[in-house]
Amino acid sequence: MSGDELARADAAAIATAVRAGAATAVAVTEATLARIEQRNPSLNCFTAITAERALATARAIDEQRTAGVELGPLAGVPFAVKNLFDLQGIITIAGSRIDAERPPAIADATVAARLIAAGAVPVGALNMDEYAYGFTTENSHYGAARNPHDFSRVAGGSSGGSAAAVAAGLVPLSLGSDTNGSIRVPASLCGIFGLKPTYGRLSRAGARLFAASFDHVGPFARTVADLAAAYDAMQGPDPRDPVCAQRPVEPAAGDLWLGGSRLRIAILDGHFAGTGPAAAAVASVANALGVTRRVEIPEAARARAAAFVITAAEGGNLHLADLKTRAADFDQMTRDRFLAGALVPATWVIEAQRFRNWYREQVLGLFRDSDILLAPATPCPAPLIGQEMIEIDGAMVPARPYLGVYTQPLSFIGLPIVVVPLRDPGQMPIGVQIIAAPWREAEALRIAWALERDDVTAAMAVDCCSSSSCSSAA
């Protein structure tokens, strides 16, 4: 493989080549770092590049192979993390100016450490909305992450750098976090696969929290097999995260080939019906799966409202000390929402948490007759950077909060969800949520894998977008 081919290869191809000795981890890492150096100035995905550590890690992998040591399943696979995950030796800035004053992390976040233990190579940290409070990664401190399909458009957020880096072929694998949609929205807008596992499945230790009631972490990739391999490598209990479940590892990658056999699938109606490209994307997936049955989640709009209130209150409380002493140092895109959140009365939060319990029971009832539910991931493809309003079904709505309209009512109760990307020629991508019952990530991944096998969904590394703004970056 040439340097560029090495840099753009998927994780499985890289690991196979490195394990077999067909490529060295150092060669893959050097090619990756070169591609990042070439393309990142246009994309603004990376806020830190850990070249020295990456090359040292890669050299160690190559030495292990030479010594006859069995290499891990992700041997030599470059990956990067949303900059709210600790990477030893660099500062975890969480998209903020305030946290940039903290000392460097003394250890890796658990999920990063587990990827590295599986042979993956950390190459850097990625741009995000400040403290994860946003759906667009229009960060005033570090600049907007740009959508690789069209540099004038947002990458989505809050894990926008993580999605854009994978979509642009800078890394085959990245990590993000999802509180209300922050993995699923950027996966949809950048046209790649993203997994938000069940709440409590993957450890959040070493990740900067936002709203602890809903904070999840998960991977992005350009193939379902890579997504599953990363997910499998990160599973397992962790005493450092009180939310992380005491469940054994339940590997998903080995069962992908089962596809959708014996799974009962339905389309979510009502709140999730969608219009335009969002509805068309769900229809494409449903048609491919032969699904016509429609079901409705009761009170989904109210669930979104409850998630909105709890998120604001928990976020406002988390950052209260800094809001009191240095509010002007917050990003103007998040500051006023954090300040307002700090003022939320307790009875709203407690009622929202009571509603959450009631709503969970209603949704779990749907899984008696269905294994998988389908819904749009976003109401539209990527808006322009700076765009305030979007038109949905003839009505103008505020673009930024509305991007989470279909994701928020589902992370509210922690359901596992895979986003699969669809893209018509000449159009911006948009994703569909493959939603499973709690702890059934493997079933959502099987459906995603079958859709990829049947060419219904695909995520290609984008070399250059169609907009004139990217001509200088080619």
Binding site: S213, E299, A301, R302, A305, A306, F308, V309, A312, L320, L323, K324, A327, A328, R335, D336, R337, L339, A340, G341, A342, L343, V344, P345, T347, W348, I350, E351, A352, Q353, R354, F355, R356, N357, W358, R360
Partner: protein, 62 residues
Amino acid sequence: MADQSFNTETYVDTAAALIGLPIAPAHRPGVVVNFERLAQMAALVMEFPLPDGVEPAPVFRP
């Protein structure tokens, strides 16, 4: 839903003073707008008739 006499600006000022949170004049209009948005969302939750026996979702295990 708050009653007709509720004034968001007064609430923001009073609640901020209660918790010792200074809000700069330049930030105050944005905070008020965002609190109004939160109040609209909260109203959707508060108006829903939950059965008495429903407990809050978080569970504490000593």
